[in-house]
Amino acid sequence: MARLKDKTARMPLGNKVVMFFSKPANVILVVFFVLLCMLTLYPLLTLVSETFTVHAGREATATKQARGSFTLYSFKKLLFTLDDGGSEGFKESTSWIQFYSPLLNTMAVSITSSVIAIIFGGCVAWLVTRSNIKFKKFISTVFVFPYIMPSWTLAMFWSNFFKNVNVGPGTSNGILASVFGIMMPEWFVYGFFPISMVLGLHYAPFAYILIGGILRNMDANLEEAATILKTTRARIVSRITLPIVMPALLSTLLLVFASTMSAYAVPVFLGSPVRYYVLSTKMMSLMNTYKGQGYIIASVMIIFGVAILAINQWFTGKRKSFTTVTGKSSQISLVNLKKASWPIAVLLVIILVLLAILPLVSFALESVIIKAGDYSIENMTLDFWIGRNLSYLDQGDANGILLSPKILKALGYSLLLAVSCSVIAGTCGVLAGYGIVKRRGSFLSTAVNNLSFFPYLLPSLAFGAIYLALSTKVSFITGMFALILVGSVKYLPFASRSGISAMLQLSNEIEEAAVIVSVPWWKRMVRVIFPIQKSSFLSGYLLPFVSCMRELSLFVLLVPTSDTILTTMLMQYSEKGWDQFGNAINLLIIVVVLIINFTVNKLTGASIDKGIGG
């Protein structure tokens, strides 16, 4: 048998390239690879280089070097100054106070809040998917509220509720103290505990969606087989359910961990009054004074993020995914909670009302009272919503928010921004998902997969700063376009996750059937693939939308004016202490998001819970 050594029989390189690019999946992957490198790696490199650069102002004075020159000053100051603690030893050294201590605090908070989020979200997910608990619809709908609220508003709500004259600044009593006379201790109201709780509760919906999705996809027969073999409930969970769900559980843990690490507003709110500092608070203050050190902290966060990604890869790569999505729906028998079902359901509903509904009520209340703390009817007015000529207040706006052209304009821009980001990110997510799944296992696919997840791990603040710097080098990145660009890149991970999981559920034959009858690629996408997985894909659009509507730190440096979008306006108003306007705007944002989520859900079946790969 002659071997094929004849060179003329082998495919020439040119043909190989043409063949390679004739598959749409390859084209997509290459384009995304290049784009993502530019949009994520380049900013990353800029960030890292900034840590070695002298910045104008204090750094220039301290190093006595010119602006823009190379220096290791930032590193030395932040990481290696452990000897200036004097008599107190290293615990009073600059590096300890500015870096290592906040680092430990960040780790503690992040791990704790991730665990809280997973336990709370996971339990609710299990109850909703696997048991016959009552009020499933209500629980499912309301549970996503904490995620829609800007996280600092939850922190505000916590402090407004629990503060009392015995703790922290101790200047006034919150609702619990003034109405019920209950004075919570300091560790409960400020510091490690509330920060972890608030962040954990804020991300619990996230965990709920991810874990619920996994549970839904898991073959229920596996648990039934164990039941028939007389396995106790506890053993089923520990030996069957958990091990199979573990890779997904781990993914969730890592995702929440990355999110909580870069959270800024919550630790500032609940930590500063008792001098509890985390990396993000230090980063913010250092960004204002010693930029190089600020960027080092940002880099550290990114390193953590990368490590998380690597661990996640290693873990899920080691064992094949156990959640076989065959699409064959087996009848599952729900666990009968018997007598426990009513108490558990009621307890859950109460908790959810406290976490999800009560803050909304509190925002509404706070937006209609004139003098703080006075909740009597005489002190209430709808002026902040629909009043005119409010100059007597000497704050905020001359009109109530629903009538203020300034605020309505900001609402319009916020919506424009969120919709644009969601459309771009969502579409890119669909395309990326298509490419990644079609060429699964190849280098290109893995690379784009990881790159598309990467932006999520970059701290929003640093991300925004880098893009501001980019905007000076690339002149068309300004104004609204810059905001849309940075929002789309930042939330692409969400969209690509749901795109990938949607594509994974589709078997190849579906597309092949269309290929055989010569349907062109774009038509296959639009008429076949997209409609079948419509609700999964659309959920990939919803999540960026919601996230953009409530996002602040990403946009704060890039907005042309702070009146451009609602969230920067809200922050500004909060800072100025115009609480009523602030609360009204806050409520407005949440209500708008809820309405749109509801509408999209009714029209297309898409929803946030299908979004993150559920």
Binding site: D219, E224, L229, K230, I244, S330
Partner: protein, 371 residues
């Protein structure tokens, strides 16, 4: 020794009735097949007996103990019913080895480590999968996975074994092989097998009794050969047997032991022992293909033309056309008949059936002569 009794079992999913007033008694040691088309309620019935599904009405007794009663509010959970269940997709735990999968149930029963080891070894040998003991399910073929699933189900020596279409995921050759294995296992373990399938051949070859269901209603519950030779209605007659039975509409008049039948393309006289009183009644004649005989010369006035001829080596399936009627005939041995040849035919044997057209029930059986 457990006998399973179902009384008035009904399962309703809001408006849809999956199982309708089912009465069933399964004796100890039987191999019962629940047979029927998709959606007829057989898997639901199986799951109800096992306890994975809760009936809306009725009673279930296992070994004279009430494990479910709608009126008395009793519902014994599946893990207390002492049954084994083999799932259609095997439901092997992907994160455990073959050994661990099989041993898992025994660990729950608190067997000693050595007892478990010997029992697992016994099963591995029985099912010929010894060399896979340390492998993971994803590393096994479909047939091997299925054997592991069977081993796992058999490990705790259940008295009753439920099997939900276990062979439907296997290729044809393997299916044949596994049928034999399962039948042998049934004898070796002396357990009661309750088997669900939509493949009538499986039901016929393996069961002691077949339970045919349609739209949630029990049609017939008899040994396979009874179901085959004396189907209780048109549905059963049509469902069982391959190729399917020939159905010919006719008008019947007669009484006593002889009935005159007038079909569109022929006339015949039926000799039967159970003839009811008939006067110009609308009937359907049911003739199994093996009872249609072909000859060069016609018997009686009827001729047929060969429409198609499909020899398989062991037998030949021939389709005959008489006027507007088509008849299927099966002849042992491969004979190549030329298409479009005119032939004679006759009906042999005494298992020709007569069904009432309106009620679809079988009213008589006997032999048929062409006139």
């Amino acid at each position: 020794m457990p006998q399973i009794v179902l009384r008035n079992i009904t399962k309703r999913f809001t408006k849809f009735v999956a199982v309708d007033n089912l009465d069933l008694t399964i004796n100890d040691g039987e191999f019962i097949t629940l047979l029927g088309p998709s959606g007829c309620g057989k898997t639901t019935t199986l799951r109800m007996i096992a306890g994975l599904e809760t009936p809306t009405e009725g009673e279930i007794l296992i070994d004279s103990q009430v494990v479910f009663s709608a009126t008395k509010g009793i519902n014994v959970p599946p893990n207390k019913r002492d049954v084994g269940f083999l799932f259609q997709n095997y439901a092997l735990w992907p994160h455990m080895t073959v050994y661990q999968n099989i041993a898992f149930g025994l660990e729950n029963l608190k067997w000693s480590k050595s007892d478990i080891a010997s029992r697992v070894a016994e099963l591995l040998a029985l099912l010929k999968i010894e060399q896979f003991s340390k492998r993971y399910p994803s590393e096994l073929s479909g047939g091997q996975q299925q054997r592991v699933a069977i081993a796992r189900t058999l490990a705790p020596k259940p008295k009753v074994l439920f099997l939900d279409e276990p062979l439907s995921n296997l290729d044809a050759k393997l299916r044949l092989e596994m049928r034999t294995e399962l039948k042998r296992l049934h004898l070796d373990t002396k357990s009661t097998f309750v088997y669900v399938t939509h493949d009538q051949l499986e039901a016929m070859t393996m069961s002691t009794r077949v339970c045919l269901m349609k739209n949630g209603l029990l049609q017939q519950y008899d040994p396979p050969l009874t179901v085959y030779n004396r189907p209780i209605n048109l549905f059963v007659a049509d469902f069982v047997g391959n190729p399917t039975m020939n159905f010919i509409s006719a008008k019947a008049t007669g009484k006593g032991s002889s009935i005159l039948l007038e079909a569109e393309s022929f006339k015949a006289s039926m000799t039967t022992s159970q003839a009811p009183e008939l006067k110009d009644a609308e009937v359907v004649i049911g003739i199994r293909p093996e009872y249609v005989c072909i000859s060069d010369e016609p018997t009686g006035k009827a001729h047929a033309v060969i429409y198609s001829n499909m020899p398989s080596g062991m037998e030949t399936t021939i389709r005959l056309q008489l006027g507007k009627t088509m008849l299927t005939s099966v002849i042992f041995r491969g004979v190549d008949y030329p298409v479009d040849k005119k032939v004679g035919f006759s009906f042999i044997g005494s298992d020709i059936l007569l069904f009432d057209k309106k009620s679809e029930r079988m009213i008589a059986s006997g032999s048929l002569q062409l006139i």
